[in-house]
């Protein structure tokens, strides 16, 4: 399949920059959190504190304004025949490093009223910290719950795709520090092909529950940080049908137009019936 037919990447190559992407292969992840550490150190992001979740080894819980990579810990029951684990062996660990998806059609970017959120030449969705005025509209517009406002600072933050490192021709810090190459960084179409090859290889080895998470058939139209997982993506807090909120705009504005008309009509009618004064 020719990916350029499916994904509108044609214009992306005109300025000499390719569209970059992450492929996070959770079948290679060992749960070491080197990506979280490297991300925080490189980007000089503040600490999250020492909160214990109490329900798994995951005490980071979610990506947010101070967490741009987050390793999820899923304890699967072992299913003989699905490959990788024997019965009775506990648990069948699923680790997956979550990150901003850098959506093809990004809810935060569409919603941003200041134009602070832009599409970079690498295809990354980037919040310009010198423009953001902290209105927090992006926060309620992200279907993945990624971008968040830092209350002390006042502005919204999320993964920058290490745009500064990419400008220097280097990999993002998380991909650089990943000891198992579970986080792969590269050109988006090459990585999509690589994900398919890896999926086939896993299935050949009997890992039948492996799936690629890349919601190309939704209004998000695919993501620039896709995942290879085992089992149902919902166990990893990945929505089966993420929707860009702009899909609701047409019916909402149409409704607003009708409401405005009704408001005007009702007001005029009320005073029309009272014009004897």
């Amino acid at each position: 399949m020719n990916h350029t037919d499916t994904y509108p990447t044609n214009g992306h190559h005109t300025n000499g920059h390719h569209t970059s992407a992450f492929l996070t292969d959770s079948t290679l992840c060992i749960g070491c959190k080197a990506c979280e550490v490297a991300c925080k150190e490189w980007n000089e992001v503040s600490a999250d504190g020492y909160d214990w979740s109490g329900h798994s080894y995951d005490n980071t819980q979610a990506v947010g304004h101070s967490t741009w990579r987050h390793v999820k810990f899923v304890e699967n029951p072992t299913v003989p025949g699905e490959g990788g684990n024997a019965a009775g062996q506990l648990p069948a660990w699923g680790f997956s490093s979550d990150v901003c998806k850098h959506c093809e059609v990004a809810g935060c970017l569409e919603a941003c009223p200041t134009g602070a959120i832009v599409r970079m030449e690498t295809g990354a969705v980037f919040v310009q910290p010198d423009v953001c005025n902290g209105c927090a509209y992006c926060v309620v517009s992200c279907p993945f719950g990624v971008v968040e406002k830092n209350k002390e600072d006042g502005r919204a933050f999320k993964c920058t795709f290490c745009s500064d490192r990419q400008a220097a021709g280097l990999k993002p810090a998380c991909a650089q520090a990943c000891p198992t190459e579970s986080i792969k960084f590269g050109e988006i179409n090459e990585l999509r092909d690589e994900a398919k090859l890896r999926l086939e290889a896993l299935k050949d080895r009997g890992v039948n529950d492996a799936v690629i998470y890349d919601p190309v058939d939704t209004s998000v139209k695919g993501i620039h940080a896709f995942f290879l997982l085992r089992g149902d993506p919902r166990a990893y807090n990945l929505p089966p049908k993420p929707e860009v909120p702009t899909t609701y705009l047409k019916k909402a504005w149409s409704s607003a137009a009708v409401a405005a008309g009704a408001m005007l009509g009702a007001t005029l009618l009320a005073f029309l019936g009272d014009n004897h004064r």
Partner: protein
């Protein structure tokens, strides 16, 4: 899509030291980072699970709205101000009640002045409020709202100022033209101001809001008309039959809106009925719907203006509570991963024991 070149910030430059540090993290992780423990779930105790049925330990997928209380107050003030501008123009056009026109113009102008202040104080970086107007972006309801509000504040202020000039100094034709033209423009933008807030929260990722993307603009429009009428009555215009009629119509629509919400039994609508948000939405609904409707109908037949004042107070409280209730419902909705993850409808499943898993 237009693409911008890489900006100055973040502007760290990779050097030998930074790359050495990343290599060090990588080396340490490969030596000591592998998770070898049994996990938490098999150790017993009913912990939440991560699965296709329960999501990720019940951890919310979406982020909660991070707006301050100024935002629901703005939704209320802006809605009332926009409707007041429409009332001012209608009264000017169809009646000779100059007092009502003046009051309505001032309600619109004061609302138009307070609203930007409320929105600016909600911003994380208030000094950058003008950044809202550095782009014109139809796909951003927040941006459209900022432009609408900027226009409305200017026009409603101009109309009220011209009205003041006309009444105090000279009832000259140019002043009259300015007042009427500014008033008309304030009405036009006021219609948008009173309804767009429904689009603002309707076109988001928050399930309970986007589920009502169609009904919210109507709901907020009725609420705005209800508030504007009530403010004007409490300012002493409780002799205008038109205002009572308009208030009754708005309250009747709020009754319909309440029935629509109450008859929806799906999980998306739970925040509108359960918990603190449900209590606020329901109280707001009663105070702005059936209660003032009954009072206004009674006032029509008895001519008792006290009933209308009571209806006005109830409607104002109800309209304000309605906005707070909807924002609060958005918080509750964001905390529930069931809708965005499309999880099966059932009670949150507790974790299985080690023996269950091994079996």
């Amino acid at each position: 899509m237009t693409r911008v070149s890489l900006p100055e910030v973040p502007n760290r430059t990779p050097d030998e030291q930074s790359e050495h540090r990343l290599a060090e993290i990588r080396r340490e992780a490969s030596e000591k980072g592998r998770v070898t423990g049994d996990g938490v779930t098999p150790a017993g105790a009913p912990f939440p699970k991560a699965s296709a049925e329960t999501g990720y330990y019940g951890v919310p997928l979406l982020k909660e709205p991070q707006w301050t209380p100024e935002v629901p107050v703005y939704l209320f003030v802006g809605g009332a101000a926009g409707a007041a501008a429409v009332v001012a123009s209608a009264a000017k056009l169809l009646t000779r009640d100059r007092d009502l026109v003046r009051s309505a113009r001032w309600v619109a102008a004061v609302g138009g002045a307070i609203s930007p202040a409320l929105l600016i104080s909600d911003l994380g970086v208030p000094s950058r409020f003008l950044n809202m107007l550095r782009v014109f972006k139809p796909q951003s309801a927040m941006n459209m709202g900022a432009w609408t509000l900027a226009a409305f504040s200017s026009f409603s202020g101009a109309a009220a100022f011209a009205n003041l000039m006309r009444e105090r100094f000279a009832d000259a034709l140019p002043v009259r033209i300015v007042e009427d033209a500014a008033g008309m423009l304030a009405s036009a933008t006021g219609l948008v101001l009173s309804t767009y807030t429904g689009v603002l929260i309707g076109a988001t990722a928050i399930p309970v809001w986007n589920d009502h993307a169609v009904s919210l603009p109507h709901h907020f429009a009725a609420s705005g008309v209800n508030s504007a009428v009530s403010i004007l009555e409490l300012m002493g215009h409780s002799d205008s039959r038109a205002l009572n009629l308009l208030g009754a119509a708005a309250s009747a629509f709020e009754v319909y809106e309440g029935i629509e919400i109450e008859t929806r039994r799906d999980r998306v609508n739970q925040p509108l009925k359960r918990g603190v948000s449900g209590a606020i939405v329901r109280t707001g609904g009663v105070l702005s719907g059936p209660l003032p409707l009954a009072l206004r109908l009674a006032a029509m037949f008895t001519g008792n203006s006290k009933l209308r004042r009571a209806a006005g107070i109830a409607s104002l409280a109800g309209s304000l509570l309605t906005r707070f209730g909807w924002i609060r419902a958005g918080h509750a909705s964001a905390r529930d991963p069931h809708i965005p993850l499309d999880l099966p409808e059932k009670v949150h499943e507790i974790g299985k024991s080690r023996s269950d898993l091994a079996a």
